[in-house]
């Protein structure tokens, strides 16, 4: 199947660049987080105690993997709708950073964590969530705009 990396965005090169940025992030992140999922399965396969026996770490890494993959797909969806909502293009950086920070917080929060709390890296997650909220707010506003 052939994929056209430059969808018909008209003659707006800035919009074309924005779409391409989301496609790059989305496809790369999706591949990485799917590989991450394989890594988690491998940890089950070898019964790694430092993963399986640490409930919080396990939960955080699963959350990181799931959010990372889901937000990668969101970037691809964003790239698909952007040509119809070009006003949201300016907030695309927030979507990409948010999509990176949310899973990064989960994944790094599971390193050096205590039994009851993630490590301080978890702060990246709410920061990323705020950026995602901002991006989705901008997208929504663009959708409502006449």
């Amino acid at each position: 199947m052939s994929v056209n990396p430059s969808p018909n965005t008209g003659a707006d090169p800035a919009l074309d660049l924005a779409v391409r940025a989301h496609l790059r992030y989305g496809t790369t992140a999706l591949m990485l987080f799917l590989l991450g999922g394989l890594a988690l399965e491998f940890l089950h396969l070898i019964k790694a105690p430092w993963y399986l026996d640490h409930h919080l770490r396990r939960e955080l890494w699963v959350l990181g993997h799931a959010h990372g993959a889901l937000l990668a797909v969101l970037n691809l969806a964003w790239a698909a709708v952007l040509p119809r909502l070009p006003a949201a293009a300016g907030s695309g950086w927030a979507l990409r950073w948010g999509a990176a920070l949310v899973p990064a917080g989960f994944l790094l929060g599971g390193i050096g964590n205590s039994e009851s709390d993630p490590s301080l890296a978890i702060l990246a997650t709410p920061a990323g969530a705020a950026l995602l909220l901002y991006a989705l707010f901008a997208l929504s506003r663009a959708a409502w705009k006449r």
Binding site: D53, H54, H55, L56, S114, E115, S116, D117, L120, F137
Partner: protein
């Protein structure tokens, strides 16, 4: 409002709210750590509340027998065979059975096995060695029932076989009320809550004589059935509440400082840490008479982390007995003061130089969150790895250590320095008085010793001479002396006899198969002891010996012996066992205990038995 201003204002509002919340958390964290609230001694949260933040610790504690110490009766908790098979002990037939999901004991008429009374099991106590059953009676009373289920042997046993009393006991001899007894150490946050103490006191003042256990009414409560988190960490409701504040939690993680809202035994001094375990593993009395009322109403006043001795008096050999036999406590210790029953581990530890000079404490070896749930100890520590912390390399410097190693014997620190000499829950446990073996002194002091317990076919003189020889001071042993363990097997008091009977056939005893075989007639003689507990240990040792020898017919004959059966049944079984065994001429007469043909010397055994102290030992279980 302009379109550009709206997002900025929203951001500012969000930032303000975040700052306000963060500021409140920071103020609260600083305040609660700088000036912590006094702990509420009754503010228990329960182990489920601990689980959400401490899942690993909750999971490791859940494996322990502490958790299942007391449970509501259910198909999950009840271990016994309530299968309708009648068991008969001390003249009373009882049928454990089930009906409508309830576990019942049917007390039968001995003449025709018709049902005279039915008692429903309400709660269970214990799950490791054996399980006791409680019935709920009038006045909120929980009554301990006489039949217990022995988990290891998968059989019913009457309580008379678990205590150190002779055969002359009644069926209900060891009836006990849970509310003012077992509740204290088998549950978390126990509150007996006697409700008619004043009325009973008035009756006492009028000179009435009555059994208060039968007359007292209770509204007993516990924070949690079984021994849960808050027994060792203190009541945790305030801790759970305070740590909803994330800044407080992270500040504690960063600073590595102790959280004043909870007790971590690993942060306590060795003395205080030992007392956490010692609140139950150190038999005790209320420290002052006025605390008796408190114990009967709101329960013991001690909480983890406090100075236990401000709340209780630890029972020692010299502790005056408040009521009853004045020798009750004295009999619970060996003559040199070493505890000889379980649940006195703190007293034993406190007598040890490792504790007084080296700061050894319970959690140096044991852990509620690791190792084998049986004993809550790792395999390494079971073999004395914890000793290496202070005594590194000592195995290469002490002659006794080198000699044992050279002989090919597998001995661990605890085998010689914490010998098995304490009776409890139908087993012989290691002494927690960590000390050096002293065979001659211990024999003179009428207590077991590590050397003669393991070398149970040798005399104290032999062991003492070997020690002196190893230390460069040779002396001649008395060749004809009776092996000390075998002397105590017949001439000792009930605890001595029980310990000796257990050690005589212990799996790890330093005995050749020939020496084990030679002792069998003596173990058969001990299986006719007047005390069921002694008979059982002698039977266990004989069974172990038959296993080591691979003597299947003898094993089969031994399987027919029930240590708490009626005397004629036991005599028959013992006769069959003796017929099955053919003694051989012994290489060593064991100080005359064995005749030339290998049979037991009944005359000498009777002479030794005449020296025995026959008093029952009230073990307070």
């Amino acid at each position: 409002m302009s379109r550009r201003l709206a997002p900025l204002l929203s951001l500012a509002l969000l930032a303000t709210l975040t700052l306000a919340l963060g500021g409140a958390w920071a103020w609260n964290a600083r305040h609660s750590l700088a000036a912590p609230e006094p702990r509420d001694e009754f503010a228990y949260a329960g182990s489920t509340a601990c689980q959400s933040c401490h899942p690993d610790h909750h999971a490791s504690w859940s494996r322990t027998y502490h958790r299942t110490m007391t449970q509501e009766a259910s198909a999950k908790s009840v271990q016994g065979a309530f299968d309708g098979q009648i068991v008969r002990y001390w003249g009373q037939p009882v049928r454990p059975t089930q009906k409508d999901g309830q576990f019942l004991f049917e007390y039968l008429d001995p003449r025709d096995d018709s049902v005279r009374a039915t008692v429903a099991v309400a709660r269970t106590v214990g799950s490791h060695r054996y399980q006791q059953y409680l019935a709920q009676g009038d006045g909120g009373r929980y009554q301990r029932l006489p039949l217990i289920w022995h988990q290891g042997e998968q059989r019913w046993i009457h309580y008379n076989g678990a205590f150190l009393y002779d055969d002359n006991q009644g069926f209900d001899q060891h009836a006990a009320t849970w509310n003012p007894n077992c509740i204290y150490c088998h549950n978390t946050g126990p509150e007996p809550r006697i409700t008619n103490a004043d009325a009973l006191f008035q009756r006492l003042k009028r000179g009435e004589r009555f059994n208060y256990l039968n007359e007292a009414h209770w509204d007993s409560r516990v924070a949690e059935l079984g021994i849960a988190c808050e027994t060792c960490h203190g009541p945790g409701a305030q801790h759970a509440e305070a740590n909803r504040n994330p800044l407080r939690r992270y500040w504690l993680h960063w600073s590595d400082r102790a959280d004043p809202s909870i007790v971590n035994p690993r942060r306590l001094t060795p003395e205080r840490a030992a007392q956490v375990c010692g609140q139950c593993h150190g038999q005790r009395l209320p420290a002052r008479p006025e605390l008796v009322e408190r114990w009967l109403s709101r329960g013991p006043s001690y909480r983890a982390g406090e100075d236990l001795q401000q709340h209780v008096t630890l029972v020692t050999r010299d502790t005056p007995v408040p009521a009853g036999d004045p020798d009750t406590f004295k009999l619970r210790f060996w003559p040199d003061g070493t505890p000889r029953l379980s649940a006195y581990e703190l007293q034993g530890l406190m007598q040890s130089p490792c504790y007084s000079r080296g700061g050894a404490t319970c959690i140096g070896c044991h852990s509620a969150h690791g190792g084998d749930p049986a004993g809550m100890i790792t395999a390494d520590n079971r073999q004395g790895a914890a000793c290496q912390g202070c005594h590194q390399g000592i195995e290469q410097t002490v002659p006794a250590h080198l000699r044992h190693a050279a002989s090919g014997a597998t001995t661990h620190c605890v085998d010689c320095h914490m010998p098995k000499l304490a009776y409890g829950v139908m087993e012989i446990h290691r002494s927690h008085r960590i000390e050096n073996p002293a065979p001659a002194a211990n024999a003179a002091g009428q207590r077991p010793d590590a050397c003669t317990g393991c070398h149970s076919d040798r005399s104290a003189d032999w062991a003492q001479a070997a020690l002196q020889d190893w230390n460069g001071k040779p002396s001649a042993p008395t060749a004809t002396a009776i092996p000390e363990n075998l002397r105590q097997l017949f001439a000792g008091d009930p605890v001595q006899r029980a310990v000796a009977a257990r050690l005589a056939g212990a799996e790890d005893a330093a005995l050749t198969p020939q020496a084990r075989r030679a002792q069998l007639p003596l173990l058969f003689a001990a299986m006719a002891d007047r005390y069921p507990a002694v008979r059982r240990f002698a039977w266990l040792s004989a069974r172990q010996t038959a296993t080591v020898l691979g003597d299947a017919p003898l094993q089969q004959a031994l399987a027919g012996f029930d240590f708490i059966a009626d005397a004629p049944q036991r005599a028959q079984a013992l006769e069959r066992i003796r017929q099955q065994f053919r003694p051989l001429a012994p290489a060593d007469s064991q100080g005359g205990l064995l005749q030339a043909d290998g049979a037991a010397n009944a005359v000498l055994i009777d002479r030794l038995r005449a020296q025995a102290d026959t008093r029952a030992i009230n073990i307070g279980e």
